[in-house]
Symmetry: C2
Subunit: 336 residues, 2 copies
DNA sequence: TTGTACGCGTTATCAC
DNA sequence: GTGATAACGCGTACAA
């Protein structure tokens, strides 16, 4: 491996002069500068970023922890973070916790030993609290993305889940639905709680009683509660519409409905949070679409501001609006 | 930041003793070992992996470069790579080249300066050759994933694109199609060339003449050639089926067809390479499905073998089979 | 404008 | 069993 010393020897200068050329620091005559640059080219020299980090006490690396790398919401968010990071001169270390606390912990350990300058953290659930404590203990700045963690004040970029959920459900109500089910993610995740709250808001605003038998708590990765759905459909007064907590739940739900011979939207309307990304043929779902790319981009911006101390001490809370997009998965309830 | 010396001082031993405890190396009395461990806990000590890498001359990090982080094929591949890497004690540094040579180069530079132990490389195109040269020049082991680069012999994990394409097209032929269009990715990408070859194989085997007017070279990210498609449909003898080079092309194509009022599969059959992942509602496409997760997992295995010198000198070429999955996007051609 | 001495946090070697 | 020393590749402070 060619080092700064090899270059120095070749150029008949000290290592320091080479270092100064690399970093454009100090005064160097144009002549030696270009001579050294040429030699670096010829010898294929690449600075060792670890050695540099060791002395500089910064890595110029940020870490992005997401809970599901297969979900288009998070991959789009990742693209936003990646672009912003690169633009600001940082590298991004991706981590995929797979909604698992164990994996998340492994990534936190790696983050600590790698000494990244900051973390963009989309928590697996409320139980991620200790992981945030660990980061704080080690003075690693972080920004929470998409999901808040109760009891942890910090910079955050979240969506307006409550608002968005209310709009979706009111859309259903305006179509004439009054029996509206909610198939949600785990209530240990803040967005799921907010979406439930928005759902409740909408019902209350329209004088519809909340019926617990219409509430299903599943998880954001897969819809696995076919039997519960079936018994919900067999209720004396079954739902005519379902609000799914995220895109994957909506997909799983629809698959199950198709299997059960329930047509959407003729017999059952389905709406959901988050869009489905590029791989969908016929935009079909009525959704509350979130600006995923912006989540990542703004998160990085916030994080870098915090690292550079360019922010006021109080925590910044950015809330990104979701947009109600009405498509063909929602329609008036079937006539009695 | 607490260092090995802080621990040593607290424990009244030398830094060396602490190091030995950390790495379970050398002889240490059980008593001091547990005492030191306890102190490390209390002081929240985390080894600095950069300092360690500097002296050890290895980082235990691998890099994965993929061309499209929004494509389910590559995210699934990434999951496979991630799991395998973690299992073998390596961290994974993701890079998303976005099918862009410029971004790819930036990632290669970062790879060099980070001194990763090896690279899993899914090349943007044949033009990535120089990037591979760079890696080789710096003696960084790499494994090519999914896409070969002509003129670069190395370990590879690829799919049987030619075979799979032939099977897909023969499936169409067996349904009665004889005018079969190909909407392909850039021919600067090896898989696109292989799929074209498989397409040609199938036609030749069945005595169907290749008609250049039925060939469209687009790109794997988006289908953007609506006008060309339209003129193809206005041909005196238009195609009755299309073979799309990958999943995103198929989706873009279908969207365009819907727009033009062409029904699939009644008026036009569509088949494609790669499946669409978890976010698809009603598995619809007839596809050649590739074991994406395996691509990543086996790639890591190969790479680590190579790093450890556990492999024979000759290059390993793993070819993963694709599976023809017949669904509802393909049907006999419309009766004349 | 250029060079010297030192330190960043860790481990290998070898002596005690 | 334990410890002193040097080395990994680089940048800062200070001299020259």
């Amino acid at each position: 491996m060619v080092t700064i010393y090899d270059i120095a020897k070749q150029a008949n200068v000290s290592a320091m002069t080479v270092s100064k050329v690399i970093n454009n620091t100090g005064k160097i005559s144009e002549k030696t500068r270009s001579r050294i640059k040429k030699i670096m080219e010829e010898m294929n020299y690449v600075p060792n970023s670890m050695a540099r980090s060791l002395v500089l006490q910064e890595t110029k690396m940020l870490s992005l922890l997401i809970p599901d790398i297969t979900n288009p919401f998070f991959t789009t968010l990742a693209r936003g973070a990646e672009d912003a990071a690169m633009r600001l001169g940082y590298k991004l270390l991706f981590g995929n916790s797979d909604e698992s606390l164990t994996k998340e912990k492994e990534y936190v350990d790696m983050i600590l030993s790698t000494r990244v300058d900051g973390v963009l953290f989309s928590a697996a659930s409320d139980l991620s609290g200790p992981h945030l404590q660990t980061l704080r203990l080690h003075r690693i700045p972080f920004v929470l993305l998409d999901r808040a963690v109760p009891g942890h004040e910090c910079d955050t970029v979240t969506g307006d889940s409550r608002e968005g959920a209310r709009k979706l459900v009111e859309h259903l109500i305006s179509l004439g639905h009054r029996r509206i089910a909610l198939v949600n993610g785990s209530l240990a995740v803040s967005t799921a709680r907010d979406r439930l709250a928005g759902y409740n808001d909408a019902l209350k605003l329209n004088d519809i009683a909340v019926d617990d038998t219409l509430l299903l708590e599943s998880n954001y990765k897969h819809f696995e509660d076919g039997p519960l759905l079936r018994s919900m459909l067999e209720l004396p007064d079954p739902p005519t519409a379902v609000f799914a907590g995220n895109n994957f739940l909506a997909v799983g739900l629809i698959r199950k409905l198709l299997e059960l011979g329930v047509r959407v939207p003729e017999q059952m309307s389905v709406v959901c949070f988050d869009d489905l990304g590029a791989s969908v043929i016929d935009p079909f779902f009525t959704v509350a679409s979130q600006p995923a790319y912006q989540f990542g981009a703004m998160g990085i911006q916030l994080l870098v501001d915090r690292i550079k101390g360019a922010t006021t001490p109080e925590w910044k809370k950015i809330v990104l609006p979701s947009e109600l997009v009405v498509r063909s998965s929602s329609a008036p309830p079937p006539a009695e």
